[in-house]
Amino acid sequence: MKGFATLLWLEYRRSRVWAAALLGSLAFWAWGLEQVTYAMPEEQLGIRAGFLCAAAITGLVALAFMIGRFRSETRQGQYQILLLTPPSGYFHILARFTFALTIGLAYAVAIAGLLWWATGRAGLHLTSLDTAQLLLVCPLYGVGIVMAPLLAWTLLLMVLSSAYRISGTAWIPGTVMVAATPFVLRFLGERLGDVLYRLPGWRLFTGLDAALARIGIERSSEATHAGIVLPQEPLWGMLALATVMLVLAGRIWQEVEA
């Protein structure tokens, strides 16, 4: 565990500028949200939600770049040194993933906080429970189904490419993995769609209907349940996929090290 803590510290030293820039960019997004003043409150909420979607996508891309900086490390000789260090490849991969995921989770919670602020500005006042779900459950769910698999995929892609660097064919595994990913995702999406809601879903925002009614928005008559029901299966499926990719990346690191 001491080795893992050292690797986490090393990851912090390597990526702290990226992390600070990413978290600091939230000030820019908050400033952008504040500038939306020229429309009806409901429209403002829509525009601000669009801003926050852009912030989320930007954060995902930045984190993927942050975790996948193997090429510059190889050029500077850091990667070769890391391969020779005593901790196993699994710890190296886990430390990188843990650091990036922690930064990502903080970023996601901050974006949820900005969304909560935007809903308040639109007159949509959530209950304490709904606010807690917005600030904690939604970021965790989003990180679990999108961010964790994306970061694990990026790590696997870079480690796999690095395994072929000596032979000069690193671009081939990168190309085939990027090309094959959409088909694998479609296959997984179809399988997960088949089992959706087999497990009991998680009901969130039970006070949302009342809050919407207070500002004159009626929910569709087709909605049979109060609030929103999140399915469990995509979360478990994507977490399992992320785990498999991390194990593969760790194994490849071990074999390249050997």
Binding site: T169, V176, E255
Partner: protein, 53 residues
């Protein structure tokens, strides 16, 4: 004519994938890398042969 063209394109892509399998198999000594690359190429080959685009 279009069918023939598509068949030729598919055969060419399969040849490229076969060449990549050969390069990837010999490009590393890591068996997990070989298996992961082979899996990705198998997905692509499956799409070329019987996939829905």
């Amino acid at each position: 004519m279009t069918q023939v063209f598509l068949i030729v394109v598919r055969v060419l892509v399969l040849c490229l994938l076969a060449y990549w399998v050969f390069r990837l198999w010999g490009g590393t000594r890591s068996w997990t890398s070989r298996a992961t690359s082979a899996l990705c190429i198998a997905v692509l080959a499956w799409q070329v042969v019987a996939g829905r685009f």
